[in-house]
């Protein structure tokens, strides 16, 4: 049995435990099921938002009603019932396990395989953090240090209260509320997410991650992240984690907006390992994410790295709008699908400014009965004098029941611009496998080794600790797919 199926079961089992752990008589602040204008108003009111933000949410909601479901991606799923979901729930008061001893040992085993530090395990397994593990103090230490440097790092709801002028200026400036069906829904009902502002000339000394954010609540299904790097600033941001994440919501429609001004650089790394559903793909998470970065300033740079192994359906295209002259966009991606998973992911590089460059390295690995699609756009606008793009998409098929697809759109409107695109599809060769086996490796270790080699270019762009975990994750995701 595949390892991720095991973990799924573990997580499910854990979910059951939680169910019994809920204290039902405590008043849970839960809005009724369904979506309508009143829900949008309620969310805004609960968060004590200014009038302009409510207006914005309502505009998004009204626009959303008129939008058709996007049908172009190569993914299949029954129509979403938007009325059969909760859109607002205040942080629930639940009786969390007091320590790791109360956690299913099988889940802990998976964490161990991934080499996740003990303290982190506690957070992931949902152990009541404040009670057992002093993350607050760690985070507070960091927060004080960051504040000293003028870095703002808080939840977006908090930022709306404390820095409304920044939020108002940048929110929706990269992903407008009318962008696409899922992003529009997010604009109407987002409840949480991160806000980062790095002031002029500041280089953020640590890798920022939601993990260190104080008051960490359930991130929710409609997460909204806004990161602004002012002139000459630098920040590296980590999202997600390698461990399987437990979540009750099926639809996740997050929006991430990045803004890089002159000479600024943003590095955004994601490892996504949400519940992919059972072997038949039932019950997995739909991950419909809109991520976009704007290189507004000269010499700015935005780099996306993603390792996508979870979710039943991934629909995600982290993009760069290269507006400033000499700006740079990068996209490094590994997408692994197994069982019935479907991933349609890629990027968009829109070259507007002069001498802008972009680089796309995408590795898709499909196993089981899954489908993995790379879909990307490289557009050289008429004014993109001297712009350059290099794209490489490689797909690896494991087994004869899966599919790997490549759908690049290449539009070149400037003669001095250069676009290069290469794509290959292959499988793990018998020779490679035989060589590893005769050196005494098990077939699973061999596959893990070969696939890690295949993804190397991408994995090495991840921050150090992340990279180590991601490598293990690659192997674990494919366990049981060969032999």
């Amino acid at each position: 049995m595949a390892a991720d199926t095991q973990t799924i079961e573990q997580v499910q089992a854990l979910g059951d435990q939680y169910k019994y752990g809920f204290v039902t008589d405590i008043d849970v602040d839960l809005a009724p099921k369904g979506l309508n204008e009143n829900i949008v108003r309620l969310i805004s009111e609960k968060k004590q938002e200014p009038a302009w933000l409510l207006e914005w949410r309502l505009r998004a909601y009204r626009h959303w009603l008129k939008m058709p479901e996007p049908k172009w991606a190569k993914v299949e799923f029954p129509p979403l019932d938007y009325q059969d979901a909760y859109y607002y729930a205040a942080p629930k008061l639940t009786e969390a396990p007091k320590s790791l001893d109360e956690i299913d040992p099988k889940l802990l085993e998976t964490y161990e395989k991934l080499g996740i530090p003990l303290k982190e395990q506690e957070v992931l397994a949902g152990v009541a953090v404040d009670a057992v593990f002093d993350s607050v103090s760690v985070a507070t230490t960091y927060k004080a240090k960051l504040e000293q440097m003028g870095i703002i790092f808080c939840s977006i709801s908090e930022a709306v209260q404390t820095h409304p002028e920044l939020v108002r200026k940048y929110l929706g400036s990269v992903v407008p509320y009318s962008d696409n069906k899922h992003a529009t829904l997010n604009s109407a009902v987002f409840t949480d997410g991160s806000f980062v502002y790095i002031p002029e000339g500041v280089r953020c000394p640590v890798e920022l991650s939601t993990y260190f954010r104080i008051n960490q609540e359930n991130t929710g299904q409609f997460e909204r992240t806004l990161i602004i790097a002012d002139r000459g600033a630098y920040v590296s941001y980590l999202e997600g984690c390698t461990a399987p994440m437990r979540d009750e919501h099926q639809l996740h429609a997050a929006v991430v907006e990045l803004v890089a001004l002159d000479d600024a650089e943003i590095k955004y790394s994601t490892v996504q390992n949400w519940y992919p559903g059972d072997e038949e793909g039932r019950g997995g998470i739909y991950n419909f994410v809109t991520k976009r970065g704007a290189c507004r300033g000269r010499n700015s740079k935005i780099s996306w790295t993603q390792v996508e192994t979870g979710s039943a359906i991934t629909w995600k295209y982290p993009s760069c709008i290269l507006q400033g002259d000499n700006s740079v966009g990068e996209f490094y991606s590994v997408a692994i699908t197994n069982n019935r998973q479907q991933a349609d992911t890629g990027t968009k590089m829109i070259h507007i400014g002069k001498n802008t460059t972009s680089r796309i390295i995408a590795k898709g690995i499909a196993a089981g009965r899954s489908d993995s699609t790379y879909r990307g756009l490289v557009r050289m606008q008429r004014g993109a004098q001297g712009a350059r793009n290099y794209t490489q998409c490689d797909s690896l098929l494991i087994g004869d029941k899966c599919g790997a697809h490549t759908v690049p759109y290449i539009e070149c409107g400037n003669p001095t611009a250069q676009v290069e695109h290469e794509a290959t599809t292959s499988r793990i060769s018998d020779d490679q496998l035989f060589y590893c086996l005769q050196r005494g490796l098990s077939s699973e270790d061999a596959v893990s080794l070969i696939v890690n080699g295949f993804c190397r270019e991408v994995l090495q762009t991840l921050p150090m600790e992340f990279a180590v975990e991601a490598q293990k994750l690659v192997g674990i995701s494919l366990e049981g797919s060969v032999g």
Binding site: L397, C402, G403, E411, G413, V419, T424, T425
Partner: protein, 425 residues
């Protein structure tokens, strides 16, 4: 279907044909004229000519101006076969070449066996439109094991104004082990609209060399579907030149439904002014051990747009497929644009599939080198473009067609590429 068509033959239309036309008509009505909202047409706006369904007045076509690309020539004018303009000599009786209407009259069952088998209607509005107008065309059948050595020149002439639409239809059948060399040549005068369909049915071990020339009148619009079916060990070697028309779109749909078939398709497109030239290909590998190779090269001058959409589909059973595709475009001056969408859809694991796409300008260093050797800038640019296209053109094995294509490239360069086109506006 116009009234004129049914009365022209004088004899009863076979019921299957009436039925086929009716289905085609229904399909077309349901799909409508393609717009850019349809994914397959996102890069090419096809000027609407849906009212122009009748053929233009048959004028006096000047065949003398069309260089011969083979000893045997069959001619269509506005989609109608013209025996008076065709020359077919030295053909054994077993080889059938002639008007489709004629074969429909004398041997409708033979046509029924093949027509519309490859050019399927679903999702293809223009194919449906052509089929709903099906009355005439060219029919070619080469019997088993026969080698039609002499290139066969099939000419389709368009004639007429904005209200003229023609739907030329070509059906080529190569029986087991037969081989043929065919030059399909589209040209004409006026601002007519061509919607051509050609079907090539290659049985076991058959071999076809095919050159398609899209040299329509500058004001014309050309849309074409080339449908190919390859039997076991069949071989297809094709080449497409597009440089005519205001809007030109050539679609190639190849179905590799048997093992060990081999498909090669190369293409060159040259666009200037406000031209839009589109090459769309779809290669479907449905059986094990088939091979496909595609290389398309485009040269675009100010204001023109080139489109390449190439899809390679490898089905579950098509193990050991070897497929490669390459799209390269040179933009000669600002205002030119190329849009490429090379697509791989793969469901088998033991395959080797790759594609590549590039776009850029002529190599400045190479230009400088040539100029430093005393070669005038315009000549240097011509040399580089000819070199870029040369390796693809050189592979054409039908000599008269190769000469014709080289001449077309040269005259296009003379007309469009000079020193000035280098400087951005």
């Amino acid at each position: 279907m116009s009234v004129m068509e049914t009365s022209a033959s004088g004899t009863a239309t076979p019921p299957w044909l009436t039925d086929l036309r009716a289905r085609a008509s229904e399909t077309y009505e349901a799909l409508g004229w393609p717009t850019q909202r349809v994914e397959d047409w996102r890069y090419t706006r096809l000027p609407e000519r849906k009212d122009a369904r009748g053929p233009g007045a048959a004028g006096a076509p000047e065949l003398g101006a069309i260089p011969a690309a083979g000893a045997n020539r069959a001619v269509l004018v506005n989609g109608r076969y013209r025996p008076d303009l065709s020359t077919l000599v030295d053909l054994p009786s077993a080889v059938q070449i002639g008007g489709l209407a004629d074969v429909l009259r004398h041997d409708p069952d033979l046509v029924e066996l093949y027509i519309g088998r490859l050019a399927r209607l679903p999702n293809m509005p223009m194919t449906a439109l052509n089929t709903s107008n099906l009355t005439d065309g060219i029919f070619v059948r080469v019997p088993a094991e026969y080698d039609l050595e002499q290139p066969l020149h099939l000419v389709s002439l368009g004639h007429g104004d904005d209200a003229a639409a023609q739907h030329p239809r070509i059906l080529v059948v190569l029986e087991e082990g037969a081989s043929a060399r065919i030059v399909e040549h589209h040209t004409g005068s006026g601002s007519y609209f061509t919607n051509a369909i050609s079907e090539f049915d290659l049985a076991d071990g058959a071999r076809l060399e095919h050159v398609k020339l899209q040299l329509e009148a500058p004001a014309a619009t050309h849309v074409a579907g080339n449908y190919l079916g390859l039997g076991p060990e069949a071989q297809y070697e094709g080449f497409v030149l597009q440089t005519g028309g205001t809007v030109g779109r050539n679609e190639v749909h190849a179905y590799l439904g048997s093992s060990e078939s081999d498909f090669t398709l190369n293409g060159v497109y040259l666009a200037a002014g406000r031209q839009v030239l589109d090459n769309t290909t779809r290669v479907q590998h449905a059986a094990p051990s088939s091979r496909s190779r595609q290389t398309f090269k485009g040269v675009l001058n100010a204001g023109a747009r080139g489109v390449f959409q190439g899809k390679v589909l490898v089905e579950r059973d098509a193990q050991q497929t070897d497929a490669h595709q390459l799209s390269r475009a040179v933009l000669l001056s600002s205002g030119a644009e190329v849009d490429a969408k090379p697509e791989l859809e793969i469901y088998a694991d033991d395959v080797r599939c790759s594609h590549g796409a590039t776009a850029g300008e002529l190599d400045e260093a190479a230009l400088f080198y040539l100029e430093s050797r005393g070669i005038p800038p315009t000549t240097a640019r011509h040399m580089l473009v000819e070199g870029f296209l040369g390796e693809t053109v050189d592979e054409i094995s039908i000599e008269p067609a190769k000469d014709l294509i080289r001449a077309e490239i040269r005259s296009w360069l003379e007309a469009n590429v000079d020193k000035k086109s280098r400087d951005p506006a």
